[in-house]
């Protein structure tokens, strides 16, 4: 590999490795964890890292921090995955229809997107979450309701330009049905954009979930979500730095890995896209 190729693909490989690490931690959490993540042991509260049996120490209730960080990967990836899937399906489909069929429904859709984009993402998701209620399912709903517009916009733009291409017009001239054209010609052409947006949104959703849980909404204790663990750690910052350090580091490394994969996918699949 030349220097340029290494620069282009090297970081992507690092990202893939980091992401696989998180996925393995999430899948193998029950086997990797030395303890139950929500079992308290009041006799062993706030043990520092390196304590025998608790490599990362314990929290204020004596719960093993390593177990909680590992199970936290499950929560984070589950929320990220569900939200990306939901937003890609809903936003992608609406954007595809708006771009391909156009008309007043497309215009209305884009105006809704404009209104939604005139509000900061995290504040929107937070407000929706505070209204619809707390918990795992509602945080996925809130993030999706706030995040679908990005797909709708990108996919609509792509669909509009694909529609003008000669082979699509040739297919129309040959009498190809609209549904077949939509799924046979337009969808495969907008798929790279959807993949790139999804990978770039993935870490944004995970970090947003953690931020919302950190503020006291979203996923509630004792569920071991990184955001709510960080929220609890604030009260113990003077005595137990590890409670804040490890869940946050796990979150940062996960976000870093996914971002690197996302940047790499964009460079390879769709270098013009700016999200």
């Amino acid at each position: 590999m030349t220097g340029r190729q290494l620069r282009r693909h090297g970081l992507g490989v690092v990202g893939l490795l980091l992401t696989s690490l998180t996925v393995v931690a999430a899948l193998a959490a029950p086997w990797l964890s030395p303890h139950n993540p929500i079992a308290s042991d009041f006799a062993a509260g706030l043990e520092p890292p390196g304590t025998p049996g608790h490599p990362l120490g314990t929290d204020q209730l004596g719960r093993d921090l390593l177990a909680r960080v590992l199970y936290g990967a499950r929560i984070a990836l589950f929320i990220g995955f569900c939200t990306v899937l939901l937003t890609a399906l809903v936003g992608g489909l609406l954007g595809l229809l708006a771009g391909f069929y156009g008309g007043w429904s497309g215009t209305v859709l884009m105006r809704i997107a404009d209104v939604q984009l005139s509000f900061p993402f995290i504040l929107l998701a937070l407000t929706i979450n505070a209204i619809v209620g707390l918990g795992l399912r509602n945080i996925i709903v809130s993030l999706s309701a706030a995040g679908w517009v990005v797909y709708a916009r990108v996919v609509r733009g792509e669909a509009l330009s694909v529609k003008q291409r000669e082979y699509v017009q040739a297919a129309a001239a040959l009498g190809m049905g609209r549904a077949r054209m939509l799924f046979g010609h337009v969808l495969p052409n907008v798929a790279p954009s959807i993949i790139v947006v999804a990978s770039l949104q993935f870490s944004q959703f995970i970090v947003a979930e953690a931020a919302i849980s950190f503020l006291g909404f979203g996923v509630q204790p004792p569920t071991p979500a990184w955001g709510s663990m960080l929220s609890e750690s604030r009260d113990f910052l003077y005595v137990a730095w590890w409670l804040a350090a490890f869940p946050g580091a796990a979150l940062a490394l996960t976000a870093l890995g996914i971002n690197l994969v996302g940047d790499w996918l964009r460079d390879v699949l769709d270098p013009k896209l700016r999200v």
Partner: protein, 308 residues
């Protein structure tokens, strides 16, 4: 130009109107509004009296009309917690948020633009790798975690900086660094790619061929032409700073609109939430308008109509 401004202001009004409508109906349709507005341990008798007093027994559209009529006059009702005019409460907190956002924005540009330009000009050098590595890290590290770690290091361990609150310049340091970190990372990367693109343009070659010094080529010909995408993103991101402020203000107990909004959401103080939604959407759309006007100045090609 005047027509353009008027139509953009009209759009702003429409966006604010739709945002308020959406939040109003979300609040009302997501369950008994009275339960949302009141603490959990309220008595049944008080509940009915409250419902009658605030007019929740009226049809939904009547309530909506009443809310909008109030909103037009800047009346969002009384804060349930502070027993004060909700909009006044929000307006009182705006200067603190603007101060924080303004300093963070300044810090962002002082860091991001020079690093981005150096990375592009010295492409492939050690400075490029350091700058881009920092930007990639800055984008991945969540602000609220960075905030906690800074508090641990500089307040708990070293005792150099206050953990939170507001006061002299020392109080600005950590919140501004946290708020700026993510945006600085994005703007650094964008500056680099934008400058790289401009350096490939023929007029840069022409400027060099004319024998202009590198300083003039970079400072005058490259930077001004690279500025358009940077200003675009900065405009969008300036609005997102308002979102980032929600988290930063909460960590550092900064008395701004973001912290007020989080507290209002936690206390189910919805008049304050609606007033905050109003102010945030007004600020955000006006910022975007300012950015669009800035474009017209930077790039005459984007002027929609000549100022006759």
């Amino acid at each position: 130009m005047r027509g353009y401004l008027l139509s953009r202001l009209g759009q702003t009004a429409l966006v604010v109107f739709l945002a308020l409508t959406a939040v109003f109906f979300l609040v009302r349709l997501s369950g008994d509004p009275v339960l949302l507005f009141l603490p959990m341990d309220i008595q049944a008798k008080d509940l009915n009296e409250f419902r009658q007093r605030l007019g929740f027994n009226d049809p939904l559209l009547v309530q909506y009309g009443r809310f909008m009529a109030g909103a037009v006059r800047g009346d969002f009702g009384e804060s349930l917690r502070y027993k004060r005019d909700a909009l006044g409460l929000v307006l009182e907190r705006m200067p603190a948020t603007f101060a924080l956002g303004g300093v963070a924005l300044g810090l962002t540009f002082c860091l991001a633009v020079p690093i981005g330009v150096v990375s592009a000009v010295k492409r492939g050098s050690i400075w490029d790798y350091l700058g881009m590595g920092g930007a990639v890290l800055g984008q991945a590290i969540p602000g609220f975690w960075l905030g906690l770690m800074l508090i641990y290091l500089f307040s708990v361990r070293l005792g150099w900086l206050p953990t939170g609150g507001t006061g002299g310049p020392a109080y600005f340091v950590m919140p501004c660094v946290v708020l700026a970190s993510f945006y600085a990372a994005r703007i650094t990367r964008l500056t680099r790619s934008s400058v790289l693109e401009t350096l490939n343009e023929e007029y840069i070659l022409a400027a060099r061929a004319k024998g202009l010094t590198e300083l003039v080529v970079l400072g005058k010909h490259t930077l001004k032409n690279s500025a358009i995408p940077i200003v675009t993103l900065a405009g969008l991101e300036t609005g997102q700073l308002l979102g980032g402020a929600v988290i930063t203000e909460t960590i550092f107990a900064w008395p701004g609109v973001g912290r007020l909004t989080v507290q209002a959401l936690l206390n189910r103080d919805f008049p304050v939430v609606l007033a905050a939604v109003f102010m945030v959407s007004v600020t955000y759309t006006l910022l975007n308008l300012a950015v669009d006007l800035l474009y017209a100045w930077l790039d005459p090609r984007t002027r929609r109509e000549s100022p006759a």
